[in-house]
Point group: C2
Chain length 474, copies 2
């Protein structure tokens, strides 16, 4: 058994822990320098992480109070730099580390994003993942040229076609060996091996050839994190790694099993997809020091900032309430369901202060507090109960909590042989995480081989995994 | 007197010199690795260049023969990586070098591009320029979601509004000192100093705040290269540095003087704008060796590839002609004017072979061949006759010609004191090139201070430079 770790971060002052930038150990005020991120990438590589996973949003969180004021004041995912342009520099500073890049399919033409992602795959030698998001902010839609958001399920239908275009560009436009660079014959690219994709669809028309030849992975490793039913279907149709969030391992176990079942129904090997759970770790030499550090962190919780994040995620504005107001007393049913997103116990009477504390220190995922042995015990227990393959680690104090992971958690993980081994020669991120080849598996639904060959590949896989499937049959 | 040099390049196998990738010194088959570009950036920094200027196009050159076949075979600006994501890595590998980035205003929302450019300005500590292009390829328009190109002059009208949005985002949304990161007061960004830009226009609606606080330069240094009358007006309205191309210094002198006159009419100090002429240098220890190298380069000219570039630039397909056909005999008037773009002597009877050779080895700008003293003599003469401030140097053999520049030309430039001095502490690219502050000048038309203050600034500048203006008055 091994545990994969990704560092879950964002090029902002506050990612997941509002207020914690005020902790004395925080150096996140350097977030707009390349040096900060280069050092962080080296830290998490030394700590044994598989990737640095960078979240992104294309807008400002302006639901709380109806303005961007609280987001600005608290540095809540604002100001927000573009993570994509940073990645080749971080790759140059590291050897094995992968880079998860969040990019929305809502605001950029697939032809342009495909070129950028392929470029990143080239420049990192195949060390990137694409976290596919459809985006959910009104503020982004308005600033990026739409009159409002595309309705939720329609966004996913459009995203399906977007992915179809991306697969055609990544997988079908340039055959293997298209780049010859043969000085003797004068042929740089074999024109016989380059094909226009001739895509005409409901949302996109893309007649031409991919501008860039494919990188080492062709399609970047595909990450997805949708939690709605439609989002889960999208993950089943596309994702190779799925990011899940719950502080309850039992609830995650249900979600993971349910998704693996749907993967099977879709003709994909359910064990080929990796699941990562968000987790936050407060670790110290001893249990007492770890608890003291947790208490210290709680001193920095900033309610307005936490509710800014809550508002951004849920669309629910709690700015009219006082700290002691019980959210479930005064909010509508929609708000109850928003609240349920964050809690393992929706029946609890949550005050505004509870919500803020919960959000501010790792609340959405497990919060693991203890000495190195306790932390690793809990990681192992959580992984076994939930069935996930690893964790997206969120830091409360940045970058200190990643440095503390390296100092305290990594040696204990190594002692127990729980970190994945790294090959002498660096491999692609897909190879490192899926322990397979650098390209999409044959049972992935990408239209790699034309519709006929694809159906054939699917039926081949279905029969190979039929015994497992029969368990679900009546 | 000093001469500024920019390295004019592109993340492709063939940029300006079709066929020359087959030269034995060429290592351009490594164009899809970060190491190639990192080494190139270090080379041109050592050589005394001010910036690495990266061209870009969003489509494939498919006019020649009506397909992308010749572009693929000859590697003619295809495959084409995304230059933007490379820049922070190159900045990390250098200290003073600037980076000119070509980005089109036609296919991306200004809100997204502004964030990316501001991010690059942060990560490079103010060392970027934005080369503003409106794009001219049918192939790009079709693949990026338009049914065809926006008509030429309308593209520029739209680009004017695009720039207006960018100025509001870069200059007006975040006041100086908006980022406090004050742990004691808990204020990361002062909300009083962040403003939604409330832009409503003919082409764009952008109500919100800039996502990223401004980088060291706020607006990146603005480059432009439009050669049409409308393009020149756009340059006068926006550019701080203008890229011009002609092998005739006299013709450039006319163009530079004409543009400086129009800058004056527009209320801008005409001496505040820098002009750069494209030039190609073939240099060796002796004149004979340089001529031998030129002859050797000519052996690698590839006619189909050259005509692919010609077709892409002009929209004129010469694929039906033989090498000895005279282009001006068989082509229409429109084609004559396309041909005139490239030649100092439009009356000459150009054969297809002539056109190919002309295009392949520096033809559009001056081709300077000789020993170090001759080359520097010619650079000085060309600069004095044309009135440009420096050169965008295109390499025929890549990266060898930039390495040869460092070996042969740089020492001679240094001996004569012709290279700009570099400050001990690195400065922004605007400071390095314009020898002024890091931000847009007060007489730049950006709506930095609101419409009223802007009018005031313009009238202040106009009176300051009135004596010069009177020369043009009747």
């Amino acid at each position: 058994m091994t545990i994969h770790f990704n560092a879950f971060d964002m090029v902002v002052p506050v990612h997941q822990s509002p207020g914690l930038w005020r902790h004395p150990d925080s150096r996140i005020e350097e977030f707009d320098t390349l040096e900060y991120w280069t050092e962080l990438a080296r830290t998490v590589e030394r700590a044994g992480f598989s990737s640095l996973f960078l979240a992104d949003i294309p807008g400002v969180y302006d639901v709380y109070g109806g303005t961007a004021e609280a987001a600005a004041k608290g540095g809540v995912q604002f100001p927000l730099l573009d993570p994509q342009v940073m990645v080749p520099a971080l790759a140059a500073a590291t050897t094995h580390l992968g880079f998860g890049l969040t990019a929305s399919v809502t605001y950029e033409a697939p032809y342009a994003l495909a070129r950028r992602l392929a470029t990143l795959d080239h420049l990192t030698r195949g060390r990137i993942a694409w976290n596919i998001v459809t985006s959910y902010q009104e503020s982004a839609a308005r600033n990026l040229g739409l009159s409002g958001q595309i309705p939720h399920d329609e966004r996913y239908d459009r995203a399906d076609e977007y992915l179809e275009v991306m697969y055609k560009l990544f997988e079908h436009s340039h055959e293997a060996g298209s780049v010859l660079a043969d000085k003797s014959t004068g042929v740089f690219v074999d024109p016989e091996k380059v094909h226009p994709i001739s895509h005409r669809g409901e949302w996109f028309d893309v007649p031409g050839e991919m501008l860039t030849h494919p990188g080492p992975q062709r399609t970047p490793l595909l990450f997805q994190a949708g939690s709605s039913a439609r989002g889960q279907k999208f993950a089943v149709d596309h994702a190779e790694a799925i990011f899940v969030i719950s502080s309850s391992p039992q609830r995650l176990a249900h979600q993971v099993a349910d998704t693996r079942g749907k993967l099977l129904e879709a003709g994909r090997d359910p064990e080929s997809v990796r699941f990562f759970a968000m987790a936050t770790i407060i670790v110290a030499e001893t249990q007492d020091l770890a608890q003291a550090r947790l208490a210290e962190c709680r001193d920095y919780v900033d309610t307005a900032s936490a509710l800014t994040l809550f508002g951004g995620w849920t669309g629910v504005d709690l700015s009219g309430l006082a700290e002691d107001d019980v959210v479930s007393d005064v909010q509508t049913e929609a708000n109850q369901s928003a609240l349920a997103m964050f809690t393992k116990d929706p029946a609890k009477r949550w005050t505004v202060r509870d919500v803020a504390e919960f959000i501010s220190i790792g609340g959405r995922g497990p919060l693991i507090v203890g000495d190195p042995v306790q932390v690793v015990d809990e990681l192992v227990r959580f992984q076994q109960l939930s069935g996930v393959d690893g964790f997206n680690i969120s830091a409360a104090v940045r970058p200190a909590d990643f440095e503390r992971f390296e100092t305290f958690v990594t040696p204990e993980l190594r002692r127990r042989g729980l970190l994945p081994e790294r090959p002498q020669t660096p491999v692609t991120l897909r190879e490192a995480l899926l322990e397979e080849g650098p390209h999409l598996r044959a049972d992935h639904p990408a239209p790699r081989c034309g519709a006929g060959a694809q159906r054939e590949a699917r039926s081949r896989i279905s029969s190979a995994i039929a015994p497992a499937k029969s368990r679900d049959s009546p």
